[in-house]
């Protein structure tokens, strides 16, 4: 094992800083909730400091890339028989990438929040939760064994719940938080089962030991490894909002917009992708599970994109877009292109955070405008926007950058990362035609992505303004504390593609080579699909063509000029209505799962098993039998001495007979 550089020893500080921020801001929220300057200084300061330390650590990783992960053990956490768990952090190439994404994007979103949440009475509480979230997210990506990762995994879920329901006075928001929490519990069940199975089979939960032991213990494609990876993937579908557990993510938009950007776009929801990439050996040894991962990813990518086509809520569109893009990431890691999945994760963090924050600026100025005139209109409805580029030129330009990156317009970041995934899916088509199908699903999804993103931009920023006559004068650009982070994120959305340019371009897949020490074990079990330079160029051109067709199509088909404000808009019909209502999946889940479960809990579990059998038969029944026996016995107690004597004499006769006979 190679020597750990001294700079890496500072890793604990990256984790500890946000935790300290949480403690301090938590104290502020109780004792000085109005000390906004101090709260901002602490909340943003710890993140900027953590980012700085992360840069130092990642530079050390870059200076001497480790062959195997550097493990930093802090204390023995659970020494229990054969289970020896340490609280340990792990620094390697993969966690370095995640460190940069998490701390960098988080720092930007924290700065933005200063402007966005400035007037909120829960300012201190907000920053405390946000700091706590970053702490748990860093534990998740730095954990050196499954349980430490699980602590982070659960912690981010908790913070997600707290922040979705941040404005908990409104029942809808609190319900959305609960929905996210419960959906995630279903996934966590899978994660736990996977951990139990891993410990049972390998006797360890340390990443390094498990992955090193896996080739000797498991047989490729065997039942055990397939079960473990499928259970892990169930955890991923919950956390990363994939079919069938995706419905919580669009509802999670009830939280403040920076929360949507940070938790539900850039970081937490990508944890599932990180998990698959981290456990790449296990997934590579289970081809069926990998195909399931890829298939679910491809389906989700297309499916969520179709829903996004017809949503009117600007945040819902971006939320479904996030679900769709997460689908691409899973398609990537499912076909064994672990580096491509992580690549898309990184670029997506930039452009989707940018989209959300820009949408936040739009929502805020609309909200203020409606607040100023006292009208109660939906500040998030696209039909109430239109022509906003005249009022928010910076936001419009920056959101276009994010939108184009999301669509995958060359040479922005999203183009390279999405094309990378699709190309590698295509490359495995010669193994099984199924991969061609996955590729086709992804390609159609990309077309729809171009369409709905252009629709969003066209309806929000172009055409005539539909906000309202009196509101129009209140529309204004966001302050610099909000626009500044957008500029930084936009630079990332433009340039992040450079870290993993395709093989035919200079740069030659730098990220894939950088992650090689992490992914090579998984790579041993994969047939490397080779694409000729001609094919690769064709795919690149095709991706660009798809993006262009989608955009031009949307621009031609949609008429922002004839759109009516939300209040006057006619009801949707036919397929449009089905899309608007998200294929009625929430209703279907409600009918098929929630109601039967509620019925089962109410009628069977509560009223039959608990109230009738346990309380009635078991508890009260025993009491009743005792009372009956007591009643029968008490009938003998007549109080008449004569009766006692008769019984006594009879008893004596019986006893005497018995004694004399023997």
């Amino acid at each position: 094992m190679n020597q750990i550089p001294s700079a890496v020893a500072w890793t604990w500080l990256i984790v500890a800083l946000p935790l300290a921020g949480f403690v301090v801001n938590g104290a502020f929220s109780f004792f000085a909730p109005n000390a906004k300057r101090a709260i901002s200084a602490v909340g943003v300061g710890v993140l900027v400091a953590a980012f700085a330390v992360a840069v130092v650590v990642v530079r050390a990783v870059g200076a001497a890339p480790p062959e195997e992960p550097w493990i930093l053990t802090y204390w023995s956490w659970m020494p229990a028989g054969s289970l020896q768990l340490d609280f340990a952090l792990q620094v390697d190439q993969l966690s370095a990438v995640m460190l940069m994404v998490v701390t960098g994007v988080s720092a930007m979103i924290h700065i933005y929040s200063v402007g966005y949440m400035g007037e909120d009475p829960g300012y201190a509480r907000y920053f405390a939760y946000l700091n706590l979230f970053v702490f748990f997210m860093l534990v998740l990506v730095l954990g050196a064994n499954f349980p430490v990762m699980f602590v982070g995994w659960e912690g981010v879920g908790l913070c997600s719940y707290l922040l979705i329901g941040f404005w908990y006075e409104d029942k809808v928001n609190a319900d959305a938080g609960k929905k996210a929490f419960i959906m995630n519990r279903i996934g966590d069940f899978g994660f736990l089962v996977a951990m139990f199975l891993i410990f049972q089979t390998t006797g360890s939960l340390d990443f390094r030991e498990v992955f090193a032991a896996a080739p000797a213990i498991f047989e490729v494609g065997g039942a055990t490894i397939t079960l473990i990876t499928l259970a892990l993937f169930l955890g991923c579908t919950g956390k990363s909002a994939q079919i069938p557990l995706y419905t919580w993510l669009p509802d999670a938009m009830a939280g403040p917009t920076p929360v949507s950007a940070l938790i539900h776009a850039a970081t937490m929801v990508t944890a599932g992708v990180y998990l698959v990439a981290r456990a790449n050996v296990l997934f590579a040894m289970a081809p069926i599970s990998s195909a399931v991962v890829a298939g679910v990813g491809a389906l989700t990518a297309l499916y969520a994109a179709t829903i996004a086509l017809k949503q009117w809520d600007i945040k819902k569109i971006i939320a479904y877009s996030t679900v769709s893009q997460l689908g691409y990431m899973f398609l990537g890691v499912g076909v064994g292109a672990y580096a491509s999945g992580i690549f898309h994760l990184a670029t997506h963090a930039f452009f989707k955070a940018l989209m959300f924050l820009a949408a936040g600026s739009v929502i805020q100025t609309l909200h203020h405008a409606y607040h100023a005139t006292g009208r109660h209109e939906d500040a998030q409805d696209l039909r109430n926007m239109g022509g906003l580029q005249r009022y928010l030129p910076w936001t419009a330009a920056l959101m276009w950058v994010g939108g184009l990156a999301n669509i995958g317009v060359p040479p922005l970041a999203g183009f390279f990362s999405k094309d990378d995934i699709l190309a590698r899916t295509f490359a495995r088509g010669h193994e099984a035609p199924l991969f061609y199908l996955f590729w086709a699903l992804g390609a159609v999804g990309a077309l729809l992505t171009a369409f709905y993103m252009t629709r969003l931009m066209a309806y929000a920023f172009h055409g005539p303004n539909r906000t309202g006559e009196r509101e129009r004068e209140h529309l204004h650009e966001a302050p610099w504390v909000m626009t500044g982070p957008l500029v930084v994120l936009a630079l990332g959305a433009v340039a992040a593609g450079a870290i993993n340019l395709p093989a035919v371009l200079p740069g030659h897949e730098w990220l894939a080579r950088w992650l090689e020490p992490v992914t090579f074990m998984g790579g041993l079990y994969l047939v490397e699909g080779q694409l000729g330079a001609a094919t690769e160029w064709t795919l690149l051109a095709l991706a660009a063509g798809i993006a262009a067709i989608g955009m031009i199509g949307a621009w031609q088909l949609l008429k922002p000029a004839v759109l009516k404000p939300a209040r006057e808009a006619p009801a949707e019909t036919g397929i449009q209505r089905v899309l608007l209502r998200k294929y009625y999946v929430d209703e279907i889940y409600d009918t098929l799962l929630v109601r039967p479960l509620a019925w089962l809990s109410d009628r069977v579990l509560w009223k039959t098993i608990d109230a009738f059998i346990i309380d009635g038969v078991a508890v009260n029944g025993v009491a009743r039998v005792a009372r009956l026996v007591g009643w029968v016995g008490s009938r003998l107690q007549t109080g008449q001495v004569g009766t006692y004597v008769v019984i006594f004499v009879l008893g004596t006769i019986v006893l005497l007979r018995a004694l004399l006979r023997s």
Binding site: G633, S634, R635, L636, Q637, T638, G639, Q640, V641, G642, V645, V646, V649
Partner: protein, 98 residues
């Protein structure tokens, strides 16, 4: 001595005592019937002592002592019952009915 007739008398006396306890309702009569049963037992002891040695006769003294003590306690209880209830009919003494 005739063992058989003595034991027969003892058995008859004991049965009379039992019948008295079972059938009579006056507490003092019941009490006297109990004494009758004790003395029937005494008679049996004495009769058998003729054949089996003097142990039985010794037991008779014990029984007499117990009977005396019982009479003292029992009559005191009877007196207390009468003061309390103004009757000695045991059918009226059923406070312990379940």
């Amino acid at each position: 001595m005739l063992l058989g007739p003595a034991l027969a008398v003892s058995a008859i006396l004991f049965s009379l005592g039992v019948a008295g306890v079972l059938l009579r309702r006056n507490a003092i009569i019941i009490f006297m019937c109990v004494e009758l049963m004790l003395n029937a037992a005494n008679l049996a002891f004495v009769a058998l002592a003729q054949q089996l040695g003097p142990d039985g006769q010794v037991i008779v003294f014990f029984v007499m002592a117990v009977a005396a003590a019982e009479a003292a306690v029992g009559l005191a209880i009877v007196l207390a019952i009468y003061r309390h209830k103004q009757t000695l009919d045991i059918q009226n003494l059923n406070l312990l009915r379940g």
